[in-house]
């Protein structure tokens, strides 16, 4: 547990330093999902050491809300997919660490491009269907923003998943209640996302503190236990955007804005180095 907490703090530092260096990127949602991705890659997923695109006989993860690439890149690097020093190249010309994740540059750990929102659930379903055809019993995980659910393709995918009994998928929704233009409830209120998933035939697991490592472990373990039951599984992960940096929390202002030098210093002071900076 201490190890996971230390890793999370280091991932926060990576996120902050990456976006600060290029003065662009999306720290808010990245910080909000740091605990989740750390837990997913460290303890929940059954992963092969060597990256192969086809991912036979291992769990897969798809990031649909691609703008939180900083946390994705950090967790991939710290899970051994590529050298952590490559985080230095985030958003730079000729980098494999593009602004939004892509397979185009051959970065290990990434299986689909994302960034244009709403497409990841369909892709995850296709990968889940392929696993069934291959008699591969591993699970497909995906992560989506709550604002992202405003894209209609998600609802096509949700309909399909339950209609076709896709029960080897766990789709997690990052419920941080915020999007670029403000609170999700102000931009386009969606009502109860839980009710919507349930009425579409999904099993829903709620993680009420999505920034608490133990809660994530418990919730994801429960979600795993619900797979192979003829129904798709959804995790509603309530997170705090900007978590771990006091001035980035309780606001949507840091959705897509980088800290300046002083702000970085303050943010890093709140998250002292644990496993070593890149």
């Amino acid at each position: 547990m201490l190890e996971l907490q230390q890793l999370t703090i280091q991932v926060r530092r990576d996120i902050l330093r990456m976006v600060h260096k290029v003065n662009s990127g999306h720290p808010g949602g990245s910080l909000g999902c740091a605990e989740f991705l750390v837990v997913l890659y460290s303890t929940i997923m059954n992963r092969n050491a060597k990256f192969e695109m086809n991912g036979y006989d291992e769990d897969l993860f798809f990031l649909s809300n691609g703008h939180i690439s900083p946390v994705f890149y950090s967790v991939l690097a710290r899970s051994g997919y590529f050298d952590v020093n490559e985080l230095n190249t985030f958003r730079l010309l000729n980098s494999r660490l593009q602004g939004h994740p892509t397979t185009h540059e051959g970065l290990p750990g990434i299986r689909i491009a994302s960034g244009s929102l709403g497409q990841g659930m369909s892709v995850a379903l296709g990968a889940a269907e392929a696993k069934k055809l291959n008699n591969d019993s591993r699970i497909v995980y995906s992560l989506h923003g709550d604002g992202e659910l405003q894209e209609g393709q998600n609802w096509e995918a949700m309909m399909y998943a339950s209609a076709k009994n896709i029960d080897n998928i766990i789709a997690t929704i990052d419920l941080n209640g915020k999007q670029i233009d403000g609170a999700t409830d102000d931009v386009l209120p969606m009502g109860s996302i839980k009710d919507k998933f349930e009425s579409f035939g999904w099993l829903v697991v709620e993680i009420n503190n999505g920034n608490n490592i133990q809660d994530i472990i418990d919730g994801m373990s429960k979600a795993k236990s619900l797979t192979n039951n003829k129904k798709p599984v959804c995790v509603l992960l309530k997170t705090m955007m900007g978590n771990g940096v006091d001035f980035m929390m309780h606001t949507h202002a840091w959705h897509g804005k980088a800290p300046n030098d002083d702000q970085l210093e303050s943010a890093l002071k709140q998250n002292p180095e644990t496993l070593g900076d890149y």
């Binding site: 695109m53 086809n54 991912g55 036979y56 897969l60 798809f62 892509t102 397979t103 185009h104 299986r111 689909i112 491009a113 994302s114 960034g115 244009s116 497409q119 990841g120 659930m121 369909s122 892709v123 995850a124 379903l125 296709g126 990968a127 889940a128 269907e129 392929a130 696993k131 055809l133 291959n134 591969d136 209609g152 393709q153 096509e156 995918a157 309909m159 399909y160 209609a163 076709k164």
Partner: protein, 317 residues
């Protein structure tokens, strides 16, 4: 001049359906998806023989493209089937990000392309799809001319690794290419030899080009007819070799003149061998309801239109 005849007419979409069925038997990784148009796409045989490898997604084309992209990750070779309009314009961003940019091995198979779906009108006709798809980096774009060629192309693209757009149509058209043809992606097929003009045609316009060449012969004009089934990558050497001999060219396609085959040829000519060219294509317009023959006549996409454009280009030599 070599003369082409036919004994049977058949729709190109049946060539797709029969090719897919053959693939289903030969390659266990081939899977198919459809968005509520199984009958129109002639996918029944594949589905009957391989129910576990078929995915009916309902009227949800965006989801279909994403699922297809995901299936490739598990080593599958997905063939998606719906009308050309719903295979391209409706799902452009899904294709762009999840398939083309992600370099996924998806075969986007599109029926009812162009005007010749007829009476349904402009909402279902698409004259912009070649342009949309050829602009996507890495996308192969194929438009086949008859049943045999469509069947051969369907089988051939399964062996090619990467995204492909395969465009075909609804009406029954003459079968004039060989049943046992070898389909080579990116390789033009020279149908007739001629010295006065090069006619480069794709899709349903290939047969019209052959008819035009016979009318032209009676007028003492010898036309070289080239069938371009692969618009991207374009076989520029075949085109250049021909125009170096004939000195002028007419392109013919069931598509808008903006973004189509003709424009791709014009670029090659402009860069490598400036040559007078005329375009048989629609003139930046939507289609409308009507029979296929009526529409092809009204929009200038038949043998007579090709003859007219040949006579025009010859004066520009």
């Amino acid at each position: 001049m070599k003369k082409y005849t036919y004994t049977e007419k058949k729709d190109t979409r049946s060539g797709f359906g029969d090719g897919l069925a053959e693939l289903g038997r030969a390659n266990p990784n081939v899977v198919a998806l459809c968005a509520d148009l199984i009958g129109s796409l002639k996918m029944n045989q594949f589905i009957d023989e391989n129910p576990e490898r078929f995915f009916q997604v309902g009227i949800a084309e965006a989801n279909m493209m994403g699922i297809a992209a995901g299936l490739t990750i598990g080593g599958k070779i997905p063939f998606t089937g719906t009308f050309a309009n719903f295979s391209t314009g409706r799902v452009y961003d899904q294709i762009r990000q999840s398939i083309a940019y992600s370099n996924k091995n998806v075969k986007i198979c599109a029926s009812h392309a162009g005007l010749t779906l007829g009476e349904d009108g402009a909402t279902h006709q698409i004259l912009e799809d070649i342009g949309l798809m050829k602009m996507l980096p890495g996308m192969v774009v194929i438009n086949t001319c008859d049943y045999n060629q469509t069947k051969a192309a369907t089988i051939a693209i399964a062996s090619y690794e990467g995204p492909v757009y395969l465009r075909f149509g609804r009406p029954a058209v003459p079968i004039f290419t060989a049943e046992d043809q070898v389909f080579e992606i990116g390789k033009a097929v020279n149908l007739t030899e001629g010295n006065d003009v090069t006619i480069v045609a794709t899709g349903h316009l290939v047969w019209e080009a052959l008819k035009a060449s016979e009318i032209l012969l009676e007028k003492g004009i010898s036309a070289e007819v080239i069938n371009i089934h692969t618009i991207k990558p374009l076989d520029k050497n075949s085109i250049l070799e021909s125009v170096r001999k004939t000195g002028c060219l007419v392109s013919a396609e069931e598509h808008n003149h903006l973004g189509g085959l003709g424009e791709s040829i014009a670029r090659v000519l402009a860069l490598e061998h400036p040559t007078p060219q005329e375009f048989v294509a629609t003139n930046d317009t939507f289609g409308e309801s009507g029979t296929p023959a009526q529409l092809m006549e009204k929009y200038g996409l038949n043998a007579d239109s090709i003859v007219e454009k040949v006579e025009k280009v010859l004066k520009r030599k």
